[in-house]
């Protein structure tokens, strides 16, 4: 019985992890930038959901629709005005720059929202549903469904739309894309905007389940790292594969080794994958 419960937990959590990681993976894959603000974007999204729910009673699954454009614009401007100036710099500079930006954003959130923990509690609490004594909370199911919808939407965008094809082209080979007439700087800005929108939406969904505080941004960022490396970069399937693997490892690990070893296990797994299979489960070798 317990095995089924762990499996279901891992499945549900895995989709959430995928949703947390997909924006980060897109920015890393396309712009070749490790975006350390990603965690704080998620927390900002959670605050937005908290504000909308308490002030205007807009439940999170609708708030996602509000969050996406807002965060897209935020991401687009941030890339255009700040990140674009150092986009050709080595990883050292871009990574440290996003670290600096994260310090600013995180500190601003502590300053304006005060650091204490907030929890978005839906007044008609949704309780949980149980299928032959495996119990799953409804709000988590909704978040997982929305997460899958979000990743599916991105998958379609990348596959079907012109912008999507251009983004994938830039990810595969920037120089070739330029020759094909792709306006790379604007694609960078759009991709970063998309990444921020995905982070914001993930944050809104997380607000359903986890407490909201600027201090959780590093936890979200850590998960995004591990999921990207395990699953493989810049692709939706990679994020899903990585998310599910991480959730399974943490679930099994904490059951048999104790919860405090779960995080250790995930980072050890990260290093093993990095050394043996840097392109991840489903990624393709051949790009930095």
């Amino acid at each position: 019985m317990q095995a089924a419960q762990i499996l279901i937990n891992a499945l549900v959590l895995g989709c959430l992890y995928a949703c947390i990681a997909i924006g980060f993976s897109l920015v890393w894959g396309v712009l070749n930038v490790i975006n350390l603000i990603h965690g704080s974007f998620i927390v900002l999204g959670a605050y937005l959901a908290f504000g909308l729910y308490n002030a205007l009673h807009i439940p999170p699954w609708y708030a996602v629709i509000v969050a996406a454009p807002l965060f897209f614009v935020l991401g687009y401007l941030l890339q255009r005005l700040v990140l674009n100036r150092v986009i050709t710099a080595p990883v050292l500079v871009t990574l440290t720059l996003t670290f600096g930006l994260d310090l600013i954003l995180n500190n601003a959130m502590i300053y304006f929202f005060k650091a204490d923990y907030r929890k978005l509690t839906l007044t008609p609490s949704l309780g949980s549903v149980s299928i032959f004594d495996v119990v799953v909370p409804v709000d988590r199911l909704i978040a997982t469904a929305a997460a899958l919808a979000l990743t599916g939407l991105l998958y379609l965008l990348l596959r079907r739309s012109r912008i999507g094809r251009a983004i994938v082209a830039v990810r595969l080979d920037r120089d070739a894309a330029v020759l094909m007439g792709v306006n790379v700087p604007s694609i960078y800005a759009i991709a970063f905007g998309l990444g921020a929108a995905l982070a914001g939406c993930a944050g809104v969904l997380m607000a359903l389940i986890f407490p909201i505080s600027p201090l959780t941004s590093s936890a979200y960022l850590g998960k995004a790292f591990v999921v990207c490396v395990l699953g493989g970069l810049g692709s939706v399937s990679g994020a899903l594969a990585g998310g599910l693997l991480l959730a399974l490892v943490e679930g099994v690990g904490s059951t048999f080794l104790g919860p405090s070893h779960a995080t250790t296990l995930s980072f050890v797994l990260l290093i093993i994958f990095l050394v043996l299979r840097p392109q991840g489960l489903v990624g393709r070798k051949g790009f930095e």
Partner: protein, 406 residues
């Protein structure tokens, strides 16, 4: 990927102007006419930031009351009170640096300890060396007071004073409790409480079927909780800070975990915990070093507990919890000691603190030889009907333990 863009070695014949060390060193020390300055290092940023807000509220309330009453009388002369804050970023080494900076640079007269047992302990080494009396408002672990320091005092009784009375109540009130599960945050204070709990439980003959730690920043506890659920303990004991306990409690409800007794320490005492969880907080039991329902008639500036609660609500319009109360108490105790010593001499004030035996709004205060208070019975309480109800000590009992948490 060729990295010559920045990493190119730049040949330079002569470096920048002289080292900037001098730039950072000096800060003008405020002129100290008749003002008593108290140093208060707080984790304003970083993981413990929510606790800093509470501590500051306690200190400010006392300072305001003291100054409103004309200040602290030192040998007949009235001195204003000023509290010097600094942010040590929830980083213990920074707390040590902040303590030394306040003592040697800002020339504070006395010190309030940093938040929590770890930082308070590390910083106490510095204040001990400078022989500055320090009152730690939130350091409960006995390890903090095991270095034989003379200038360190703490207003929280040892951790076992929380777990032992609780275990006794459960032993008498809930006879069918046999198996106990303990889940603790891997941090000094929560881990120390969990270890004390394990001792008290085993002393009462309970079988501890699960005793594990969860790492700081864990987002998802469902794996650990489902394992606990499969062991079906009657008593689930979880330690951590407000955020962790909110998360654990919510995920227990998500997994429909039921148990006759669920105890959580250091969360339910906070109003945010009750507001955030609503019905899920029902019947969760806990223990803390102080509770607004207590009725003590103190000799300190606040007088009765009720008066303290009234003043606190007037200033911050929220129920005070034990963290805020303890911070205000430290101010009040310093005031009593200074007025008794009749001087700002640190050794005299220290001796007064050591000899202290006074009833305050917080309860009877008497420090043991190691500086840790040993005269209080921390109240045990349970959340009933959305309000914390005191179960122990007998003097302020408000209700009986309700069984069954779902």
């Amino acid at each position: 990927m060729n990295q010559s863009w920045v990493a190119r070695r730049v040949r330079r014949s002569f470096p920048l102007s002289a080292a900037v060390l001098a730039l950072g060193a000096q800060l003008s020390a405020a002129s100290a006419e008749d003002v008593i300055r108290f140093g208060a290092p707080l984790p304003i940023t970083g993981a413990l930031a929510p606790e800093a807000v509470k501590q500051q509220q306690g200190y400010d309330l006392w300072a305001e009351q003291a100054n409103k009453a004309g200040g602290v009388s030192v040998g007949g002369k009235k001195y204003k009170v000023q509290i010097v804050y600094t942010d040590y970023q929830s980083n213990t080494p920074r707390a040590v640096q902040a303590t030394e900076q306040m003592i040697s640079q800002d020339n504070v007269n006395f010190m309030f300890g940093a938040f929590g047992s770890g930082a308070a302990k590390a910083a106490s080494t510095v204040s001990e060396k400078y022989k500055v009396p320090t009152l730690a408002a939130t350091a409960s672990s006995s390890q903090v007071y095991d270095q034989g320091y003379k200038y360190l005092f703490g207003t929280f009784t040892p951790n076992d004073t929380l777990t032992t009375p609780l275990t006794k109540i459960i032993k008498t009130k809930v006879p069918d409790v046999k198996k106990v599960a303990i889940l603790a945050r891997n941090d000094l204070f929560p881990l120390a409480i969990a270890q004390e709990m394990e001792k008290s439980a085993k002393a009462e003959g309970y079988e501890v079927v699960y005793s594990e730690k969860y790492s700081i920043g864990t987002l998802d506890h469902s794996a650990a909780l489902s394992q606990i659920k499969s062991l079906a303990p009657q008593w689930i004991f979880v330690t951590g800070y407000t955020n962790d306990l909110l998360l654990v409690r919510k995920q227990m409800v998500d997994q429909q975990m039921k148990a006759p007794v669920v105890t959580m320490i250091a969360g339910p005492a906070y109003q945010e915990f009750i507001d955030a969880l609503g019905p899920a907080a029902e019947n969760v039991s806990s223990a803390a070093w102080w509770h607004p329902a207590e009725q003590y008639d103190g000799k300190d500036i606040f007088g009765t507990t009720a008066n303290f609660v009234k003043l606190f609500k007037a200033k911050y319009n929220s129920e005070p919890d034990y963290g805020q109360a303890s911070a205000a108490l430290c101010g009040a105790l310093f005031q009593i000691a200074i007025e008794k010593a009749g001087s700002l001499d640190r050794d005299k004030v220290r001796d007064e603190l050591a000899k202290l035996d006074v009833v305050t709004f917080f309860g009877p205060v008497k420090f043991g030889a190691n500086g840790q208070i040993n005269s209080l019975d921390p109240p045990v309480f349970q959340i009933q009907g959305g309000k914390p109800v005191v179960l122990f000590p007998q003097a302020i009992k408000q209700g009986d333990l309700k069984i069954g948490v779902n």
